[in-house]
Amino acid sequence: MAASKQKKSGFQNPVIRWIDDRLPIFTMMDKEYGAYPTPKNFNYFWNFGAIAMVMLVLMIVTGVFLAMSYTPHTSMAFDSVERIMRDVNYGWMLRYLHMNGAHFFFIAVYIHIFRGLYYGSYKRPRELLWILGVLIFLLMMATAFMGYSLPWSQMSGWGVTVITNLFSAIPFFGDAIVTWLWGGPSVGNPTLNRFFALHYLLPFVIVGVVFLHVWALHVSGSGNPSGVEPKTKKDTVPFHPYYTIKDTFGLTVFMFVYMAVVFFAPLALSHADHFQPFDPLVTPEQIVPEWYFLPFYAILRAFTMDIVFPFTGWITDGGIVFTAKLQGVIAMFGAIIVLFFLPWLDKSPVRSARYRPAYRWCNYLLVVAMVLLGYAGAQPAEGTMLWIARGATAYYFAHFLVLIPLLSRYEKTLPLPKSINEAVLKDKEEAQ
């Protein structure tokens, strides 16, 4: 028999051994989460991958229980969510966990992405790992957008209206695409129904992509703050117990902040208009997306001038117009698409911003630009705010498309440590 020829696993427990000989799932777990050699110099930025994974599971568990009491119909959705809040046992807790869970999931993932940018985690051999990560980010945004529509509040309905209308900017087919997305002549019951179906589906797609993401990680091995790959055994520690305990501690601190918000300020990050039923006849004073979309929303609205191509008047009346809306839509999606190409835009052989002084400052500027964009995204797009948004948008694209390629050629990098072990010893010396 094939099984008897293979090397028997070393597990003591006969049940585990019986299973493992037939399906080596315990061997795999031991290899990937027990022995997995991990650089010993992680800082706390390396907690956020594990934290994001826990948040994903938490969102799915709370979501499935919410779905048991939720009704995806335009005339009942709002009330069914309120029934969850009032009459379902601990329903308020489920909803506040899910609602704020989305916020904290995004907080974790934004920090995780920043970590990747700062320490050059997207570079060879981790390009595909990075691309899968950006894909997860996109899927998360789609999931959160559709989830936010489910309570069918003023902000839900108008958010859906504004965002789906963006597709009308697509030349020729725009209006047809929008009607197709809505499933009818306006935002209505078919829209809510499909959004619920997709909101239920996409998190499981995310689980699939996360699996590939982690698989790719375990092929190339983890990066680390020094950006130097492990060379000897001195550079690494086994994942368990070293990083299981460190992740446990980091996760607990994160959970403390998350739970403090859930139980003591559950509405701190939400909008008043999210607590009124959707009325297609009454536009809210301002339609503001959730904070995690604001930077991209600001990029969208930074474009306000139609461009008319000269000498095209003979084709259509008024000439062919590159509308401001289409420019904004392209820029908004472009802002995420550009991340896919980052591994090839940055050719610098040095990974970590620690040894790239100029790149480090560009990174801080990128954070400043994102904060400014986020602030501008919540304000009416006019006056100084509009100019701030335009400036920050310009920086965002210049950062990826101009500065990074230039820096990777001309930047004077600092000398790299010979090994992770050496980097750690040097840090220790300096700290004393």
Partner: protein, 260 residues
């Protein structure tokens, strides 16, 4: 060690904290008008709880001064037991209202006296009827009003006490009233409260401010009936996480001792 942490991660970490605060405050600034003055509410704060006596008085104010125009369709009469009314009192309150029920065995709809499990009976059949009775303005449902307005309790209180003569240069059309805190200052709701209009069971009659305070607290409870349970569980959860974090940190130091 502190130095090390600071050097390694403080700038980006600070940037993120900044990010979050800016976004949150930006979102709030977006909805602001004349900011309502901040009041002290007993149910606010980490350990604040509802003042049940105030909620009961607030229910009386709602019933006598607001219920002729505004519904609270998400509350049931039985919910009033949560703010200290007895079962019999609740049954008596419900029995003042009639609801449509049916069809009965003969297929007819019939009217019956409301019972505690019924939802609060709305003053109007539908929005159109409500508008018709209010010069075209809609007296909206108050079930979630405290959550559905920026400023929450402070805004509702300010609105109810914010009526005044319009400034010299402002023309107010017929059927509209000037209110300092309403967006645009012109509201179609007549001042709903008057000094001495409501006689509390203590025998005292309420001033506008007292009645406004009480009804605002009642509406806050209607918006968030599980606030107390939420905070009680929250304290336990945070206490557990705190202890667990300390233990996890101690374990982490132990395990890493041979590496550092």
């Amino acid at each position: 060690m502190i130095k090390k942490i600071l050097r390694k991660s403080s700038l980006p970490a600070l940037a993120f904290v900044l990010c979050m605060t800016v976004f949150a405050s930006a979102a709030y600034a977006a909805g602001a008008k004349v900011p309502p003055p901040q009041q002290h509410w007993p149910h606010k704060g980490v350990m604040g709880t509802y003042d049940l006596a105030a909620l009961q008085r607030g229910y009386q104010v709602y019933r006598e001064a607001c219920a002729s125009c505004h519904s609270i369709r998400l509350l049931s009469y039985r919910n009033l037991q949560d703010i200290g009314f007895t079962e019999d009192e609740v049954r008596a309150i419900a029995s003042d209202y009639f609801v449509m029920d049916g069809p009965n065995d003969e297929g007819d709809m019939f009217e019956r006296v409301a019972v505690p499990s019924d939802r609060f009976v709305s003053p109007f059949e539908n929005d159109a009827q409500a508008r018709y009775a209010n010069n075209g303005a809609l007296p909206l449902d108050l079930s979630l009003i405290v959550k559905a307005r920026y400023g929450g309790e402070d805004y509702i209180y300010a609105l109810l006490t914010g009526y005044a003569e319009p400034p010299e240069d402002v023309e107010i059309p017929d059927g509209m009233y000037w209110n300092r805190y309403y967006s645009g200052h012109q509201i179609a709701m007549a001042p709903p409260l008057m000094d001495g209009q409501i006689a509390y069971s203590s025998g005292r009659s309420a001033s506008v401010e007292e009645a406004a305070r009480d009804v605002t607290q009642f509406l806050a409870w209607a918006s968030e009936p599980h606030l107390q349970q939420r905070k009680q569980i929250g304290v336990k959860v945070l206490f557990f996480l705190l202890v667990f974090a300390v233990l996890a940190y101690a374990a982490k130091r132990r395990i890493w001792a041979d590496v550092h």
